[in-house]
């Protein structure tokens, strides 16, 4: 029972991590609260689903979903965020909220208000050890998240582009003076972050076997809470906070059966942590 909840919590936490990482990377480099990131996540799910219906192969649809999300993220950055960088912080935030609202409505109008089934056969099979049970989709989530995290870590620490990206997050002007094309780095940042959100969308679509227009609503705000909890812009902190929130939700609701809305847990955790550590779990002033 306990192990089972642990597995469920980690699986949910992994998806949170995939969504939140893109958000924290965007914040790290542009200092923008990218609420519409969850719209990109839902877009990834829709693109994945429609391509799955066309091709019939899950792994290909995952790739197409990630690509679709990445391209959308790129255009959001070029057309909406970059032109607003010189304005007060609230301007891009409002743009982001407006875009998110418009995206959800666009999904509803284009694909219909109903939930659509994402009934993909992955070909992994379930895993049972005694009473401990992992479903196929849980294994899928854990594997994909692990692969993406390893890729991200390798990219950020082992490649020159990754180094430039970390430098940009520290100080864009100085980095620029060393001959780094900051504008290109920001674009790469959005491409990677949005691709991860797209992957999260596809994974949740398969996990819940449904894709629906407002599937991004709750992740939009929960991911913000997680990102703040981890220390805005802090990548290891975000992964930690995602797992903590995933586990807290599963344990408080599943094991202790407290009649508290699941989706408010992240915010309660965030407010409590901020009172003692105003820059998040692993954040620095």
């Amino acid at each position: 029972m306990l192990w089972q909840q642990l597995a469920n919590g980690i699986a949910i936490g992994s998806v949170y991590a995939l969504i939140s990482l893109g958000l924290t990377m965007v914040y790290g480099i542009l200092r923008i609260l990218h609420v519409a990131h969850a719209g990109i996540y839902a877009l990834g799910a829709y693109v994945g689903l429609f391509s799955f219906r066309l091709i019939g192969n899950f792994w290909l649809s995952l790739i197409v979903g990630m690509a679709g999300a990445a391209i959308a993220g790129y255009f959001v950055e070029r057309l909406l965020y970059t032109p607003l960088l010189h304005l007060p912080r609230i301007a891009p935030l409002i743009v982001s909220i407006g875009l998110f609202t418009a995206l959800e409505e666009a999904f509803r109008i284009v694909a219909g208000p109903h939930t659509l089934a994402y009934n993909a056969r992955v070909g992994l099979g379930d895993l049972s050890i005694g009473s401990f049970h992992l479903t196929e989709t849980q294994i899928l989530i854990l594997l994909v998240t692990l692969a993406i995290l390893i890729f991200l870590w390798a990219f950020l620490t082992k490649t020159r582009t990754g180094l430039a990206m970390r430098a940009c997050a520290q100080d864009p002007e100085t980095t620029s003076s060393f001959g780094v094309n900051v504008s290109a780095i920001i674009a790469v940042n959005f491409l990677i972050g949005s691709a991860m959100a797209g992957a999260a969308g596809v994974l949740i679509g398969v996990y819940d076997n449904q894709v629906w227009p407002t599937m991004g609503s709750i992740p939009a705000y929960k991911a913000l809470a997680i990102v703040v909890l981890g220390g805005l812009g802090n990548i290891p902190g975000t992964v930690l906070a995602s797992i903590v929130v995933g586990l807290a939700e599963t344990f408080f609701i599943g094991v202790l059966a407290i009649p508290f809305p699941r989706d408010a847990v992240a915010f309660v955790a965030m407010i409590l942590v901020l009172m003692f550590k105003p820059y998040g779990l692993l954040g620095k002033a």
């Binding site: 407006g98 703040v228 408010a264 965030m270 105003p278």
Partner: protein, 297 residues
């Protein structure tokens, strides 16, 4: 006389204008981003509704008390919010909104998902107020707040807020008591929102937690930003335009929220100061016209 439908829209618009105005004190004047303003609107509405239906207070005391309670909660929540800044503050206030909505929804004392019903329009001269009379009542209260706002803008408080908004550290270094003025903005903004909540509860006669969710906060913020953040008339213009829009766009009901989103996005992208902001096309044209009228050649 004014038709029932029209007066309903008018009342809704004044309530939204009051909310936009109160958020403008916190976000526009003092520069503290709040994404959870509907929480205080809700606290006011619930306080007033509970006092009226459970404790038997009349409208004339339950609504002012709603403002007091919302102001106190605003102060209590404003103090921890002082520890965090900018983006952290935005998300903290958003979190507060989710938690407050969850409390209304999950604690049976507040009526849960069923909400609270049986709240009536106020009584005067031994009879119940009519809707047009109610409209004039809240309009008068709102005009009072606008006059107050003008007074505050000219006082030390307004100057202190402006200095905090422009540069908090510099303001602190110049001897402005940053904490005190920030909390003051939170108290004032929350209290007015609470008052609006009381008016809203007595007007709708029935309230539910969903009326005070994060979506509502975004609507209020949109009005402020759309009209022109930090200006006196901008939030009111925003409340009127965005409040009337859903009514006239009934034929295109299907695309209403889409239009709302695109409008917000387009406004910020191309006119970030808002409709009546200092840099907007409207203000510039207005200034140019005035200039032409004043200078003869």
């Amino acid at each position: 006389m004014i038709s029932g439908y029209l007066v309903t829209i008018l009342i809704t618009i004044v309530i939204y204008a009051m909310l936009a105005h109160s958020l403008n004190i916190i976000t526009g004047h003092a520069g503290q981003i709040s994404l959870g303003h509907a929480a205080f609107f809700g606290i006011g509405a619930y306080t007033s509704a509970m006092l009226y239906t459970e404790a038997g207070f009349p409208f004339w005391t339950s609504v002012p008390l709603a403002a007091v309670v919302a102001g106190i909660v605003g102060a209590l929540l404003g103090v921890p919010c002082l520890r965090v800044r900018d983006d952290f503050l935005a998300i903290t206030t958003m979190g507060i909104n989710f938690v407050v909505e969850a409390i209304f929804l999950y604690i049976p004392f507040f009526g849960g998902a069923m909400g609270i019903g049986g709240i009536n329009l106020p009584k005067w001269f031994g009879r119940e107020m009519t809707k047009p009379e109610y409209f004039f009542l809240i309009l008068v209260v709102f005009v009072f707040f606008l006059l107050l706002d003008r007074q505050l803008g000219r006082s030390w408080i307004g100057l202190a807020w402006a200095s905090i908004r422009e540069d908090e550290q510099a303001a602190g270094a110049m001897g402005v008591d940053v904490v005190r003025f920030k909390v003051l903005a939170f108290i004032l903004g929350s209290a007015i929102a609470g008052l609006a909540g009381g008016f809203y509860a007595h007007f709708l006669t029935f309230i539910m937690p969903q009326n005070f969710g994060f979506g509502q906060s975004i609507v209020i913020l949109s009005m402020v930003v759309f009209g022109g953040i930090g200006t006196r008339w901008g939030p009111i213009a925003g409340a009127i335009i965005l409040g009337v829009l859903p009514e006239i766009s009934r034929p295109i009901m299907e695309y209403r929220t889409l239009i709302y989103g695109v409008l917000l996005l387009g406004m910020m992208r191309f006119q970030p100061g808002g409709l009546l902001g200092p840099e907007s096309i409207l203000s510039k044209t207005f200034q140019r016209t005035i200039y032409r009228l004043v200078s003869p050649e």
